[in-house]
Symmetry: C2
Subunit: 178 residues, 2 copies
Amino acid sequence: MPKDLELPFDPIARAGELWRARWGDESQAGPMTTATSIMRVQQLLITQFDAIAGRHGLTFARYEALVLLAFSRGGQLSMGRIGERLMVHPTSATNIVQRLAAQGFVERVQNPKDRRGALAVITDTGRAAMEATTADLEAARFGLGMLGQDDQQALFSLLRGVRVAAGDFVDSADRPGS
Amino acid sequence: MPKDLELPFDPIARAGELWRARWGDESQAGPMTTATSIMRVQQLLITQFDAIAGRHGLTFARYEALVLLAFSRGGQLSMGRIGERLMVHPTSATNIVQRLAAQGFVERVQNPKDRRGALAVITDTGRAAMEATTADLEAARFGLGMLGQDDQQALFSLLRGVRVAAGDFVDSADRPGS
């Protein structure tokens, strides 16, 4: 946030006050301000992460794809799998891989199991860009260095509750009968 | 998330395990998984909010602009003020207002204090679309109905700590000497 745009009050808390005054419903101001806070913190983090990844020719989305490939067997994955694991639309996965291929960070090879499908394979320069970005993100403590370990964990757990309830994944520990 | 993409494990927790195994640094897996969780929950919420706003011809970003105008004196604000309060780039604010104007949800009038500047004024149909979207978002409890009031508040407070440390606004209570 540029300094000249810095507000002398919390705009989300103020929105909560206006919300209470206008609709008179205390029970709704909480979810509204919390949801808005999630949006805002995501915006602060992605701005920071994109700037860090940009030093190495990447965006955070392309960096995430490289991490995924680096962690995969043989450093390769199908487009469908990339979209699934990054939780993005297959079209977005294809765009990300096309951009990485143009940069020489991945190569596309034919999928031996699917003649019409392609596999993305991370290259040595792709691994180097990924490692360099990782080092910088770690140095920045992923934008969350202001939180102690207990607060990190508390935040992760609260967000995990949202993800489980939204059906983001099936938690085997939460499955009936398991 | 379509059901056929639903994963039988938590991909963020798994990334944390791989991270620990590969880099062997426990202290980094926490910030990484927490930051990734914020990104993911934002993605889940905005998908839901855009779908709700879409029923009334809006996106969540345009809805937010209408709420801001509805809360403002005279239902009007300058472009700069809209960008500042929505914490978006002035270009984005202009695009949002142009789209709302094309839909008849706002009118643009000349700013009496700035001959080259414009004010956006919310119209009656804009207010109606805003109110209808608000009712639907409230019915959906802003996507956070799975959290009890204490968890809502805890989540808001943790995120507030991130926002204050990131310089998102100046909290007078945190200012030295106040």
